[in-house]
């Protein structure tokens, strides 16, 4: 009975089932015609197709980035299908019109789409593959002038808002994956909270990839007008698949003067099997721009995906603006994550806080990559970064790549980092009190992540904690 930490057992991915639904899927391949066809299928306004085409042409001239600390085989972009919609009657008038198969899927996922979330006061914009199929509490939100709908609907009903803000934070030329997304994005969510309005409920979206070999290109745009407040929750699950699936989402947050946007993610996409086969490639661009006195706060719990490449960032444009990034990233088996944030201090007295908790188990590899940039006019800028890694077992890895550039000598930038190993003695202590190995690990890890969990809305925090347990299940004996 020597060290038990290395004993691995495994549990099949809980959400690894496939829904039997007819999909309207485009043939594989990407060209200007495909881009036009996507736009046409969605009856988009003219400016949109032009924007997509510009993005596509730009993308052709770009190279896939290989600086992240992850490895994977070449992606054949021509072998991917860029559009897949569940075949249902459109448009959907009410939840009752939603394909019952879909509703069953949500039930299996434990997503209380209609009743429970309603009771809990959460409006849900559920995304199945690429097209939104159900939206609740629209009327309640409409009373406050809040727009919460699918991206497609926003393009039809509020094209002026989309045109004004789309690409204002993440331009289509930003990076390879953002350009690809800009060209082919299928759907996503759109939120607009008017001046001075505090959104009375947490807005919540669930994503799920279903069709085989279909790239998923979500686009989310959230605008909080002056003095507005909104908290947005994003949660993802995906069924088990044997081939890798590319996911390249873009999220743009616009916080105007004095506005606050809180964006929370729990990401639990299929991570691949123990050998590292299958699993989602999660290459995401998330960025917010904060005007004067505005605040943008990212909280993420990343437990899924084979590869995660993601840096939710804040451009602290206005004076006194605040940026926050709270992150838990867990990798097990052969998962790889390269995640972190960028805080770009442009305005005076701007403040940013970064708390990153990386947990590596199995043969997982976890990298924190962060950039804190203080521009010359950002007098009085402050950053505090705390970056902690926890190792479970001996075959996993933790890496940190902090980049700090300070162009104003009144700035105060603090960076703290630590690496710890989950101790056999801690696990034994908890077992001696009657807890199982899984409970013990989940408790120790939750304790480690406490500072991040407390940033999540309550029910989300519990979900996240449970997910951590599931993800690390089998990483100790």
């Amino acid at each position: 009975m020597s060290s038990s930490i290395e004993t691995l057992i495994s549990r099949e991915y809980q959400h690894g089932f496939v829904t039997d639904i007819e999909s309207d899927t485009m043939p594989a391949g990407l060209s200007e015609d495909v881009v036009r066809a996507i736009s046409e299928k969605k009856s988009e306004p003219a400016f949109m197709v032009e924007w997509r085409l510009k993005a596509y042409r730009r993308w052709l001239s770009m190279k896939e980035p290989h600086w992240p600390n992850v490895t994977y085989g070449p992606i054949d972009y021509q072998a991917t299908s860029y559009y897949s919609a569940p075949k249902t009657k459109t448009p959907l008038g009410s939840i009752d019109d939603v394909d019952p198969e879909l509703l069953k899927t949500y039930a299996k996922l434990g997503i209380p789409l209609y009743e429970q979330k309603m009771l809990a006061g959460v409006a849900v914009d559920a995304i199945f593959d690429s097209v939104s199929v159900g939206t609740t509490m629209r009327e309640e939100l409409a009373k406050h002038g809040i727009i919460f709908c699918s991206f497609g609907e926003a393009l039809r009903e509020h094209p002026e808002l989309v045109e004004k803000y789309l690409g204002s934070v993440v331009p289509y030329s930003d990076n390879f994956f953002a350009a690809l997304n800009s060209a082919v994005f299928s759907d996503g969510s759109f939120v607009y909270v008017p001046k001075g309005v505090r959104c009375p409920v947490e807005l919540s979206t669930y994503f799920r990839i279903n069709s085989a070999d279909t790239g998923q290109f979500e686009r989310t745009l959230i605008i909080a007008d002056e003095g507005a407040y909104v908290s947005y929750l994003e949660g993802c699950t995906a069924p088990k698949r044997s081939t890798n699936q590319l996911h390249a989402a873009v999220v743009e947050l616009v916080a105007l003067k004095g506005a606050t946007i809180k964006y929370s993610t729990v990401q639990n996409w299929y991570a691949g099997d123990k050998e590292g086969r299958g699993g989602i490639y999660n290459f995401v661009t998330k960025r917010g721009k904060a005007a004067e006195n505005a605040k943008i706060s990212w909280t993420q719990v990343e437990t899924g995906s084979a590869i995660t490449w993601k840096y939710p960032s804040v451009i602290l444009q206005g004076d006194n603006s605040v940026g926050e990034f709270y992150s838990v990233a867990v990798v097990n088996n052969k998962q790889q994550a390269d995640t972190g944030t960028k805080m770009i201090h442009i305005g005076r007295n701007t403040k940013s806080t970064i708390v990153s908790k990386g947990i590596s188990a199995g043969e997982g590899n976890n990298s924190y990559r962060g950039r804190v940039q203080v521009l010359p006019r950002a007098t009085g800028a402050r950053n505090y970064t705390q970056c902690d890694s926890m190792l479970v077992g001996n075959r996993c890895g933790a890496h940190t790549f902090p980049y700090i550039e300070v162009g104003n000598n009144s700035a105060i930038v603090e960076h703290e980092a630590s690496t710890s190993k989950i101790g056999e003695d801690q696990i034994f202590y908890l077992k001696q009190r009657g807890l199982s190995a899984e409970q013990a690990v989940s408790m120790i890890v939750s304790g480690f992540c406490k500072e991040v969990f407390k940033e999540l809305p309550m029910e989300f925090a519990l979900e996240a904690q449970a997910l951590l347990g599931i993800t690390l299940e089998g990483s100790v004996g």
Partner: protein, 257 residues
């Protein structure tokens, strides 16, 4: 039937033999003291009984409550009523003492087919337990053992014992780090928790503790074996004459009478 029966127990750590044939029988309602020089294997015995995987059992048997104890994983031993108050309690940063205690309490309840308790019920339950070890409720909101003083850690162990109400409690040098007042409080707690159907093994270096927790039997562990056993007066004799007295003489009959 004895609560626990240890027969010719051998155990190694890092391939070094530490326990070299322990025989010890404890009946319900008894308190046994285990004494012995540093490094003689007292903590090893405690850890082996609790199922620490760092120690390898290489021979012998342990029957607990009619079951083969060595075949059970540590959490099941705990659920069946084995409790170890650690010589060096472990810190769990970020996990509140209250949350931890309730999780442990619920696991033990579940194992007995009882309902889990919610945080409110548990808070009521804890009031009396805190009083038992004279601990402030604020300790419940702190991370498990983190930043606790040596004495607070030991008190926290006894608090856990009070919550889990074990059938066999093994206290490994619980007195170390305690001031005189705390010693009395802890000993009082242990005495109050004594019932006809449970038993306690007290590992200690000091006769002093045994003035408060009066043992039915005292065993002297030397070099991985029980070299001498006797009644509570043996502790006084040891204090007087030192361990040399035991090691130089021929080993007397091992195990409790």
């Amino acid at each position: 039937m004895s609560l626990i029966e240890i027969k010719d127990l051998h155990a190694t750590v890092s391939d070094k033999e530490i326990l070299k044939g322990i025989d010890l029988t404890v009946d319900a309602g008894e308190i046994h003291a285990v004494m012995g020089p540093n490094g003689s294997g007292k903590s090893t015995l405690a850890q082996v009984l609790a199922g620490n995987p760092a120690y390898e059992v290489t021979g012998g048997s342990v029957t607990y409550d009619g079951k083969d104890l060595l075949a059970l994983p540590p959490e099941e031993r705990a659920q069946h009523g084995i409790f170890l108050a650690f010589q060096y309690p472990v810190e769990i940063p970020g996990v509140s003492n209250a949350y931890f205690l309730r999780a442990a309490y619920n696991e033990v309840r579940k194992a007995h087919g009882e309902e889990e308790v919610d945080p409110l019920e548990f808070a009521d339950f804890m009031e009396e337990k805190l009083a038992l070890v004279d601990m402030d409720a604020s300790m419940l909101n702190r991370s498990v053992n983190q930043g606790f003083s040596g004495g607070e850690k030991k008190r926290n162990e006894i608090l856990q014992m009070a919550v889990l109400q074990p059938r066999l409690a093994i206290l490994d040098e619980t007195e170390s780090g305690l001031d005189i007042d705390a010693l009395r409080i802890v000993a009082d707690g242990v005495n109050k928790l004594k019932r006809p159907d449970n038993a306690t093994i007290v590992v200690t270096h000091y006769q002093r503790l045994l003035n408060y927790i009066v043992p039915d039997f005292v065993h002297v562990l030397v070099n991985g074996r029980i070299a001498k056993s006797g009644g509570k007066e043996l502790a006084l004799e040891l204090e007087d004459k030192g361990y040399d007295w035991v090691t130089s003489g021929a080993p007397v009959g091992a195990g409790a009478a």
